[in-house]
């Protein structure tokens, strides 16, 4: 079956008021009864031995650090818990951090993923505190602290039409702080126009220039836009278990126990349009059928496209945000995926020629490992 992914929304409160937030802020928090029911559900409905990915999400989950501790304890003390099957992740807005939090994350081996859109000029356009104050300085401080004490720090940056052209600057900023693992994600719900689509290839190539430079200097970055595509290109395309599994291999739980096929659909649509059920009453089986086609493309153009195996045309929530349908691809997704695949291919071709076999980790499915190497990347001049 592949990895099963669960997202537990610890709270829907947040101290930021990001303009593109899809969660739907409200003062609800997870209580121990719902947490116990959710965690029991997770272990009861995951085949034994399957890798489980559990993400703590929000709102801002660190507003309820004690709840995170409670949930972690419930998970690790569950009879079905296995340390080598379960992977925990925390996604945070970066405004709350402390030595105590860091110690807890390290002790329980919880991956730390911080949302930051880039330098102040970019980040503060859409990610401000509830009172309207900019949050970039606080977030940068957290990033620097986290890099000092945590074994691995991942940053996730969202880009919109207004900030697409800033992507190279965003990547350079992260690299200058010392971040090595950079995820770049477009806001699919934004109003992408032809003018921005025309900029995609050029912008992604500028990002690739920074990526190539990092390899040539033997300090490789992981940039999701490129590394994920290089991995997919080498491995012959997205495998069935790597495609959208929403509602089948992926579920999200709200603090009040509602169940969604993906955390990005929690606050979207009209009044629980995507809700599958409730942890107390169970899942409505007939609603699961709404998502059963999320793994396949429906646009006629996709069927005969040469790169369809390397394209994320199957992502149900991205499609929904962009086109209103789970299985219909928007022009932006089509062009963005095409630009990413072409750029990744040219980047791979260039670096293979210059440095030799540097993408073996990508070939075996762990592209981030290059960025975590201490030793300099060597050329394989055998």
């Amino acid at each position: 079956m592949g990895q099963v992914k669960y997202t537990i929304c610890i709270t829907q409160e947040c101290n930021l008021a990001c303009t593109y937030c899809y969660i739907g802020k409200k003062p609800v928090r997870l209580d121990s009864q719902v947490a116990t029911a959710v965690i029991d559900f997770i272990f009861e409905n995951t085949p034994p031995g399957e890798p489980i990915d559990i993400g703590f999400f929000g709102g801002e989950p660190l507003l309820e650090f004690d709840l995170i501790k409670t949930a972690t304890q419930l998970i690790t003390e569950h009879p079905a818990y296995s340390a080598y099957c379960v992977r925990l992740t925390l996604v945070t807005n970066g405004t709350i951090f402390s030595p105590e939090i860091a110690h807890f994350l390290i002790e329980h081996q919880i991956s730390f993923c911080l949302s930051c859109d880039g330098p102040a000029t970019v980040h503060d356009r859409f990610r401000r505190f509830v009172n309207g104050n900019p949050s970039s300085a606080t977030v940068e401080h957290t990033l620097r602290q986290a890099l000092q004490v945590l074994p691995s720090v991942v940053v996730n940056a969202v880009y919109r039409p207004e900030t697409l052209a800033c992507l190279p600057e965003v990547v350079s900023y992260f690299a200058s702080i010392g971040l090595k693992q950079i995820y770049l994600n477009p806001d699919y719900s934004a109003n992408w126009r032809q003018a921005e689509i025309d900029l995609l290839t050029e912008t992604y190539r500028k990002v690739a220039d920074i990526y190539i430079d990092s390899y040539l200097k033997h300090q490789p970055l992981f940039i999701s836009l490129l590394d994920s595509k290089i991995t997919i290109l080498l491995r012959g395309g997205y495998q069935p278990e790597e495609r959208c599994n929403m509602g089948r291999g992926e579920l999200a739980f709200t603090p009040d126990g509602r169940i969604f096929p993906c955390e990005r659909l929690i606050g979207s649509g009209e009044a629980d349009q995507h809700c599958l059920g409730n942890i107390q009453s169970g899942i409505f089986i007939e609603r699961l059928g709404c998502f059963h086609k999320s793994g396949g493309e429906k646009n006629m153009e996709c069927f005969s496209c040469g790169i369809k195996d390397y394209c994320m045309n199957w992502c149900g929530c991205s499609n929904f945000f962009a086109s209103g349908f789970y299985n219909r691809v928007s022009p932006f997704i089509c062009h963005s995926e095409r630009a990413a695949v072409e750029t990744a291919f040219r980047t791979f071709e260039f670096l293979e020629k210059r440095l030799g076999a540097v993408f073996l980790e990508h070939l075996s499915g762990s592209p981030q490992l290059n960025s975590l190497m201490v030793e300099k990347l060597k050329t394989y001049a055998l």
Partner: protein
């Protein structure tokens, strides 16, 4: 920064499920051809650098019975696989010299280049047309 053999277990754990994945199965014919063409011989893991593999004691839950089963697994002493171009074929490892690797990866690149020449695209006019059609259906 962490040394290779002390990477965070978050990353390392992924490797407890075995090394290479379906790439090797999808390209089995091509791999076989390269091995034949360059007359590459398989190597034993024990012949690699000392310490590459380590035996780890662990327990796993039986899928049939409600009990834990002790077992030993052999895994790389650091995650990330070997830092040498190599192919996996029918359970064996074949190290490749530069020429062989360049031929192998060159074939991959050629395949990809051909696929990139056959891309389609969805444009705004088509998207509007589809939406209007769907809306008219009620």
């Amino acid at each position: 920064m962490y040394e290779m053999n002390r990477l965070p277990q978050i990353i390392e754990r992924k490797w407890w499920y075995g090394g290479p994945r379906d790439f090797w199965l999808k390209n089995i014919d091509r791999i076989q051809d390269i091995i034949k063409e360059f007359k590459v011989k398989p190597i034993e893991a024990e012949h690699l650098d000392v310490g590459y593999f380590e035996t780890v004691n662990m327990t796993t839950k039986s899928l049939i019975r409600e009990e834990n089963i002790p077992e030993k697994i052999r895994r790389p002493s650091f995650p990330g696989g070997m830092r040498i171009p190599h192919l996996h074929f029918k359970g064996d490892i074949y190290l490749l010299e530069r020429e062989a690797w360049e031929k192998f990866s060159g074939q991959l690149i050629q395949d990809l280049r051909m696929k990139l020449e056959k891309v389609n695209s969805i444009n705004f006019e088509q998207a509007v047309e589809i939406s209007e059609t769907i809306n008219s259906l009620g």
